[in-house]
């Protein structure tokens, strides 16, 4: 073969192997044998981490400054168990601590443990006191293919000892007890330890030093507390599809139940997820087409609407191995494990009524479900409704056969908001309202396009695309009547800052959807001010 022939052969080989899509995603690094957390006991009261550690901090390396240290609570499987009359299954509440940064859109997710003195020989320096240790992983999100230069392990110890004693020496709490009121310690805390690269043990020193408490999200009228003013947060960080996009390779695929936990850990406060309808009318969560960037399976191609649900589960897995979830399953998971409000973005107008029906069935407090023994919907167990519904006493609440919402959660009807992204979905929603198929007393909606549709449909929120600009007069007009106004989807720090500040203090939107939850949390702490009007209905969109 002559020289040209060899080049052509080489070119053919290169072409056939070029740019192949990997169908599976890497997983975050973990400590071998569970690290020091395996030698520790869980913190006895998960709510105390918030009081002890939350704040704005400076760091000496890896994350830049300032960063936000965020504490979160999330639940476990017990939320799936049904109640017996007057007795709720005990949901275990877990706690995480996260470092949220703007540099490299970095974050760290850490679990806390109380390390007894008996474990001190493995700790440097040895100690005779119980230490509060935080272990987990860090990640830079400005690159979507994590490698040892962009992800690794973190191990930090909480100082001073008085804070460790406050957390580790507290009485045990479980979900049968009232949720402790948030009472920040405001003690300057230092998190001292190290970070590492990839699976290597942390060796690069890191000190995270408390600077100030986090900014309030309450409207100006509530600062200082004013009994005539709502104590509902007026700025919320919105989660686009989940805590992390599938293509960012965080180990969890977008639009899955598990992403609600990740979103909570990363400081998300309401969750936008996408609903579609399969060929056999099963509402599922999925964003666009069955693209190899987000699904795996040789036979998984086309649109969700082309498949029956059985075929979808037979042929398709999400990038990290998950099944495409049914709406009813995933909403149940989120209701029992987080407090997040749900913005259910209707990708087709045909999915609106089936999703509304699912929400209606899942709300155990909604008539006639409350007294229907065959309904296993979700009710508030901790705290219970105040006042209790007619016919119930503390001894008979929760009713038998229901399931408990996550502690501190609002009702299903308040949390489940149907998103209407275009005129077709607005028209469908309106006709379902008029025909009585959708009960406006309980079902809440969110409009993305025309602000006038918000009031005409009785929706609670407006969520326009940010490229339309700040639209200050429309924003303030809706906010002044108790509506939530947010923008989708802003990922650029400069644009986030612009929307938080352009119209002056206390004039911004009530929320933003973003792919970078840590970034938005950090930017709010640096430049944000709470909007003057809190949204009604418990601050959720």
């Amino acid at each position: 073969m002559n020289s040209n022939g060899r080049k052509i052969a080489l070119a053919l080989c290169a072409l056939t192997s070029a740019a192949c899509v990997s169908r599976t995603s890497p997983t975050p690094p973990t400590f071998q044998a569970g690290g020091l957390l395996a030698l520790s006991t869980p913190v006895p009261n998960p709510y105390l981490l918030q009081d002890a550690l939350e704040g704005v901090y400076d760091t000496t390396s890896r994350f830049g400054s300032p960063v936000v240290v965020h504490a979160s609570q999330w639940g476990d499987l017990a939320g799936d168990r049904v109640t017996t009359a007057g007795q709720a299954p005990i949901t275990r509440v877990n706690a995480s601590v996260s470092i949220l940064a703007a540099d490299h859109y970095a974050f760290a997710i850490l679990q806390a443990g109380c390390l007894p003195p008996s474990a001190s020989p493995v700790v440097s320096p040895a100690t005779t006191q119980t230490q509060l240790v935080l272990e987990g992983y860090w990640r830079y999100l400005d690159t979507n293919n994590p490698d040892p230069t962009t992800t690794g392990l973190v191990r930090l110890f909480v100082q001073p000892q008085s804070v460790a004693d406050y957390v580790c020496g507290a009485p045990a709490w479980d979900a049968t007890q009232p949720i402790p009121a948030h009472a920040p310690l405001n003690i300057p805390v230092t998190l001292a330890g190290a970070t590492g690269n990839g699976e290597n043990l942390p060796g690069d020193p890191l000190t995270v030093t408390w600077v100030q408490p986090r900014k309030s999200r309450l409207p100006p009228c509530a600062q200082p507390p004013n009994p005539t003013c709502s104590a509902v947060p007026s700025f919320l960080v919105g989660v686009h599809h989940g805590g992390c996009q599938t293509t960012d390779n965080c180990g969890i695929s977008e639009n899955t139940p598990e992403t609600s936990i990740l979103a909570t850990q990363l400081g998300g406060e309401y969750l936008e997820v996408d609903t579609r309808l399969t060929k056999d009318n099963v509402p599922v969560f999925f964003h666009l087409s069955l693209n190899p960037g987000v699904v795996q399976g040789v036979y998984c191609t086309g649109q969700v609407e082309d498949y029956t649900y059985e075929q979808l589960t037979a042929d398709c897995r999400l990038r990290n191995g998950e099944v495409i979830p049914r709406v009813v399953d995933m909403i149940g998971y989120i209701l029992a494990r987080t407090k997040l409000p749900l913005y259910l973005d209707s990708k087709t107008s045909s999915v609106i009524l089936p999703v509304a029906n699912i929400l209606a069935a899942l709300d155990g407090e909604r008539p006639p479900n409350l007294t229907d023994p065959t309904n296993d919907g979700y009710v508030r167990c901790n705290p219970p409704p105040n006042p209790l519904p007619t016919g119930f006493t503390p001894a008979t609440w929760p009713p038998a056969g229901k399931r408990c919402l996550f502690p501190g959660s609002n009702t299903v009807s308040v949390r489940g908001v149907i998103g209407l992204p275009d005129s077709d979905s607005v028209n469908t929603y309106q006709s379902e309202q008029q025909s009585g198929q959708i009960n406006s007393t309980y079902q809440r909606c969110l409009v993305e396009e025309n602000s006038s549709d918000v009031t005409s449909l009785g929706c609670v929120a407006w969520m326009p695309r940010y490229t339309r600009g700040p639209m200050q007069s429309e924003v303030n007009s809706l906010q002044s009547t108790g509506h939530f106004v947010g923008f989708w989807t802003i990922n650029d720090p400069a644009t986030i800052d612009a929307f938080l500040t352009t119209n002056g203090p206390n004039q911004g939107p009530n929320g933003m959807l973003t792919n970078y939850l840590g970034l938005l949390n950090q930017r709010y702490e640096v430049v944000g001010t709470p909007p003057q009007y809190p949204p009604t209905l418990a601050g959720s969109p």
Binding site: N4, K7, A11, L12, T16, C20, V298, E310, Q311, D329
Partner: protein, 214 residues
């Protein structure tokens, strides 16, 4: 992406070299007119999935299938020749026991059979080097998936961008015909993603120069 860029660069370099002017010589060569041919080619062979690798451990059975292609090409004085290729590409057929979830949420064990094939329409350059022939092209592929689960059959069609690479050895050439063996690779790509699926084919090819101009 670097490999892809290298491939394109090599193709471009080859074409550029072919276009380079012939150095002047002191004595003019005797005038020789290069023949021009319009050809039609037929490929028939067997093909199957190359990438991603099949999870054969969980499959009851799997195989590729028969593929074919019809190609039109023009061979002129230039070193490269353009071609247009219409092909049927068998990618994979398989059957397996799956754990599927019904519309009602029950997880069931059931039998699923699937097949995946594509119709391709590709343009590109080719090169004849002695009795070897190489072709690369890009085009549109209609990728079809047929799925039967729980007795319900469904067929889905989706268009993808596809790349074709073919290498032939025309071992028997009784003019105006030629017959030989051919190996083909097809790589499928969706917008904004990398190559997500590829298939190989091997078989026999025949060429007929149905127009020959001397």
């Amino acid at each position: 992406m670097r490999r892809f860029a290298l491939a394109l660069a090599l193709v471009a370099a080859t074409a550029a070299r072919a276009e380079a002017p012939v150095p002047a010589t002191s004595a003019p060569a005797p005038e020789e007119k290069t023949p021009q041919d319009w050809e039609v080619d037929l490929f028939v062979g067997y093909g199957q999935l190359a990438y991603p690798a099949l999870d054969t451990a969980n499959l009851g059975w799997s195989n590729g299938g028969a593929g074919f292609a019809l190609t039109f090409a023009y061979r002129g004085p230039h070193f490269t020749h353009p071609f247009f290729d219409i092909s049927y590409v068998p990618i994979i057929s398989s059957g397996k026991t799956v754990y599927a979830t019904t519309a009602g949420g029950q997880v069931v064990t059931t039998w699923a059979s699937n097949s995946n094939w594509a119709w391709g329409f590709v343009l590109g350059p080719g090169w004849d080097i002695d009795w070897f022939r190489f072709r690369v092209g890009v085009g549109l592929y209609d990728v079809l998936v047929k799925t039967t689960v729980g007795g319900v059959t469904n067929t889905i069609s989706q268009f993808s961008v596809g790349f074709l690479g073919a290498a032939s050895a025309l071992v028997w050439r009784p003019e105006p015909f030629a017959v030989g063996v051919e190996f083909r690779m097809v790589a499928l790509q969706m917008p904004f993603t990398g190559i997500y699926q590829s298939a190989w084919e091997a078989g026999i090819t025949g060429r007929w120069d149905f127009v020959h101009v001397k």
